[in-house]
């Protein structure tokens, strides 16, 4: 079992925040990664550049964006952030807009975060858990759903 408290500490969460647009949404996810000590501010800019360069492919499921960039000096450790939006915003992805949850990902290498990604994938493919995650009121509750 992945250690969620280490990969997704309280400082990584922002629940039901208001954002202006997709860039602002990614910035929030980046700020949470910085707050948790996983990245520097430069990584936040790199995550936005990834979408500008390669398009909104990071919106991988209806309502879900996985904001990330490649491993670099701006990544200090492997971890996630969890930004739930008060009002969903469009990223320009026809199939999966609008986005209501942005998961920020900082990875040092694939192996290090594979375990936590596996656990998250297990929860996000489960419709019942996805619904619970959208309603959960605290970071503790969200970790419990992911771990359960």
């Amino acid at each position: 079992m992945a250690d969620f408290k280490a990969f997704l500490p309280d400082s990584s969460f922002a629940l039901d925040v208001s954002v202006e647009d997709w860039k602002d949404a990614i910035k929030q996810a980046g700020d949470r990664l910085v707050a948790s000590g996983f990245t520097t501010d430069a990584y936040t800019d790199q995550m936005i550049e990834t979408v500008e360069k390669m398009g909104p492919y990071i919106v991988i499921a209806p309502g879900l964006a996985l904001a990330h960039s490649r491993p670099s000096d701006a990544v200090l450790g492997t971890g996630l952030s969890w930004v739930r939006l008060k009002t969903p915003v469009n990223f320009g992805n026809k199939a999966n807009d609008p986005v209501s949850l942005v998961i920020g990902l900082a990875g040092r290498d694939e192996q290090e975060h594979l375990q936590v990604m596996s656990a998250i994938a297990g929860s996000l493919t489960n419709k019942e858990k996805t619904a619970k995650l959208a309603e959960a009121q605290t970071s503790e509750a969200i970790r419990a759903i992911l771990e359960g």
């Binding site: 909104p56 492919y57 990071i58 991988i60 499921a61 490649r70 199939a95 990875g107 290498d109 596996s118």
Partner: protein, 90 residues
């Protein structure tokens, strides 16, 4: 069969897709070997695989490869992934 999952950086979405492809294959009783790659280097490694999976946005990057390329719109939908795998199941 060998499957290559491709995303922009080879570290985020492709890894998540790999996890779900492995799950879908296990559910279908298929024997698969799944690897991940970034879009830039995928062209070189695609030919060593039987199938390439990626998103709609990145599919154009893989034009010209001889390996079949299938796009997935919902990476978290095991049924969609299974539907694609079934087309290639012998």
């Amino acid at each position: 069969m060998d499957i290559l999952c491709v995303c922009g950086n080879g570290i985020g979405t492709s890894v998540l897709l790999k996890v779900n492809v492995e799950q879908a294959a296990a559910d279908l009783g298929m024997d698969v070997n799944v690897t991940t790659s970034d879009a830039g280097s995928a062209k070189g490694t695609a030919n060593m695989n039987d199938l390439v999976l990626t998103s709609n946005e990145l599919a154009p990057e893989l034009e010209g490869t001889t390996t079949p390329v299938e796009t997935v719109s919902n990476f978290m939908d095991l049924d969609e992934v299974k539907g694609i795998l079934q087309k290639y199941a012998e």
